[in-house]
């Protein structure tokens, strides 16, 4: 299913950019808008390419010092590719991700358009997991949660995911918490990814999937490379 999402935050600029309510159709013809959303996919025939067209993402503030988090830009997310959003600290890497997934934090205003096909899965930076599940039982739990039938094919799919992430040898290890030792940080991250990949979303978002100790690794490797 072609699914295009207009991202517009609740407290928008009233004069030029009225609030878009999900239950009330808005006639943009009555509104003086300097820039209308444009469906690039339709106009270019780029059915395969998802994109985010950002008009602005701003901090709601009366102060004039640097309220803009994202300037106008059109970013493409080609299919069958891994796209990395990179930049220095404070460059606004997470903002496009939140813009695309419609989860901008309160206090921001935004306008733009996003076109993505199918279901989205989001893996946050912090691993939000229950400590008592083993990898296998966690995947089975998510499988049931998504309504998948308890059959051989689904069980194999679950195990294939763990194998694909190098977690098959830990399938009976608990996640662990403050009371019990379990998976390492990297293993938890891999399990988080397996859980979201289980239902095969067309777009998989990951916030810093190789962060944590990997940053340590990246620095040490640079030392060797220099």
């Amino acid at each position: 299913m072609l699914q295009t999402v207009v991202v517009q935050t609740e407290k928008d600029r009233p004069a030029l950019y009225p609030t878009m309510n999900s239950s009330t159709p808005v006639n943009l013809g009555d509104i003086e808008t300097p820039e209308q959303p444009i469906n690039l996919a339709e106009s270019t025939g780029m059915k395969g390419n998802a994109f985010a067209q950002v008009d602005y993402v701003e901090v709601q503030t009366k102060k004039e010092e640097n309220p803009v988090l994202l300037h106008p830009m059109t970013v493409l997310f080609p299919e069958s590719k891994v796209t990395a959003i990179m930049g220095p600290s404070g460059s606004g890497k997470s903002t496009p991700l939140n813009f695309v997934t419609g989860t901008l934090e309160s206090g921001l205003t935004a306008k733009g358009m996003v076109k993505l096909s199918g279901r989205m899965g989001f893996v946050p930076q912090d691993d939000r997991l229950h400590g008592f599940y083993t990898c296998r039982s966690y995947v089975e739990h998510y499988s049931r949660l998504t309504g998948a039938k308890d059959n051989f094919a689904n069980a194999k799919h679950s195990m294939d995911l763990l194998v694909g992430l190098g977690m098959d040898s830990h399938s009976d290890t608990i996640v662990g918490d403050m009371f019990r030792k379990g998976l390492s940080g990297g293993q938890k991250r891999r399990l988080s990814i397996a859980l979201e990949a289980l239902s095969s979303p067309e777009t998989l978002f990951l916030d810093e999937p190789t962060s944590g100790k990997i940053l340590f690794l990246s620095r040490s490797r640079n030392l060797f490379m220099i």
Partner: protein, 438 residues
């Protein structure tokens, strides 16, 4: 120094394995499937860099580069900054566009302009180029755009509701059993406190002195006030749970109402266990009256406390604030419940406040349970149980009514939790207005 190096290498090996497995999996997940993977990454290591297909480079909210990884080097080389040999390319490009970096050569605006110029030099067949050209020239009539805005069709649940409810309830029951922080620590604390009560007030019921009357009243106040207060111990875990639920709701697994329902159901066995423990130990040692009524009262009061902890967990930014909030609310409830000040002595304009705390209904029912009926004491002030109840203006209290009020109180708090979650959910959905394609 040598030990540090060894540790560094061990950690490096473990992390490299995780990073490699993750990137290998993501590349395979996207490859040839029509799916896409979008990641944010601060500064990827050189081997992670080689596993990326498409790069979006940002600095200060502006686009520095976007396109295939293979073309980023030509872009920076053309602008006079090719990546030096044996240098991590990602480090090089990110450092170049970081104008807070002391060695930077160009400002963010200059890089943004350079990228725009570079784009224009690309071939007309390039998808990105086509998109940018069209975005600046395509016109759509406003009225046409307006009529195509429809309500959201993003999924709010993946599995069937009853399956999700069953699965979530099972998860929270397992969590109750397996996570010592939720129930285990409280079982120990409640048991210890009940034992201490039993030791201090051993065979209290056998005594008919005036002091024993005062002890009974104090003990019943403590039973309501402190055992309810201890439910705050569940709050940190409820806040942790919120993060997991937010992720799952965001990914469309279920509506938050399903979570609230499942958590409410799954909390019942825990409160049942705590109530039966405290009732059994306290009453066995003190010989206070009417086990069944005492247990039902304690169970329903703890249910209210559990529901309030869950409500607070949805509303506070951090569990410490939640603990402070709950402590403040319970402090207020203890003041208002009618033990420290009888209802008639409340300022007339604040009388209604006496009926707000669930402590009021629980405590006065405990009192009626203990002092109701034909009970006599060797006390000039309180010759009968009825005199005690008269003193606190609760002689007309109906225990059954109060138990129903407590039951409704707990359900009402659960409903408030649902309302808070639903409002959050609506706000989340409002940011996702769908336009359906033609």
């Amino acid at each position: 120094m040598c030990h540090s190096l060894l540790l560094l290498l061990i950690l490096t090996g473990l992390d490299a394995e995780s990073a490699y497995q993750v990137m290998k999996f993501l590349a395979k997940y996207a490859e040839g499937s029509g799916r896409r993977v979008i990641i944010t990454i601060h500064q990827p290591s050189s081997f992670v860099w080689r596993m990326l297909h498409n790069i979006v480079l940002l600095s200060k909210g502006k686009l520095m580069y976007q396109g295939p990884r293979s073309k980023i080097e030509p872009f920076f080389a053309k602008n006079g900054f090719p990546c030096p040999k044996k240098f991590n390319p990602a480090d090089h490009y990110v450092s170049l566009v970081n104008d807070e970096f002391v060695l930077h050569e160009k400002s963010v605006d200059e890089w943004a302009e350079a990228f725009e110029e570079w784009q224009e030099d690309q071939t007309q067949n390039d998808d990105l180029q086509s998109a940018i050209v069209v975005s600046s020239s395509f016109q759509q009539s406003p009225s046409e755009a307006g009529t195509r805005i429809l309500t959201t069709v993003l999924p709010s649940s993946r599995g069937r509701v009853h399956v999700v409810l069953f699965e979530l309830t099972r998860r929270y029951l397992w969590n109750l059993i397996c996570n010592p922080g939720i129930l285990g620590t409280r079982v120990v604390m409640y048991s210890m406190l009940s034992l201490m009560i039993g030791i201090l007030f051993f065979d209290l019921e056998d005594s008919t002195s005036h002091a024993s009357v005062m002890s009974r009243i104090a003990l019943l106040f403590y039973s309501v006030a402190f055992f309810v207060f201890m439910s705050v111990a569940a709050l940190p875990f409820a806040v942790i749970e919120r993060g997991i639920v937010e992720k799952e709701v965001r990914n469309g697994y279920y509506h938050p109402a399903c979570f609230q329902f499942a958590q409410a159901i799954a909390s019942v066995p825990g409160t049942f266990l705590l109530a039966i423990l405290t009732t059994s130990i306290t009453l066995a040692m003190t010989d206070l009256r009417n086990f069944r009524a005492y247990f039902i009262n304690m169970f329903l009061a703890l249910n209210c406390a559990e529901a309030l902890a869950q409500l607070a967990s949805h509303m506070v930014p951090h569990f410490i604030i939640g603990i402070a909030l709950i402590a403040g609310v319970y402090g207020m409830f203890m003041l208002l419940q009618g033990f420290m000040l009888v209802p008639s002595e409340f300022p007339s304009w604040l009388k209604w406040l006496h009926y707000v705390p669930f402590h009021t209904y629980s405590w006065r029912s405990f009192m009626v349970n203990e002092f109701g009926g034909d009970v006599h004491f060797d006390s000039a002030q309180f010759p009968t149980g009825e005199a005690v109840l008269d003193q606190y203006e609760i002689s007309n209290v109906n225990q059954t009514t109060d138990m129903l009020i407590l039951l409704g109180y707990g359900l009402f708090i659960h409903f408030l939790s649902f309302a808070v979650l639903h409002l959050k959910f609506i706000r989340h959905k409002r940011n996702q207005v769908t336009i359906e394609g033609p």
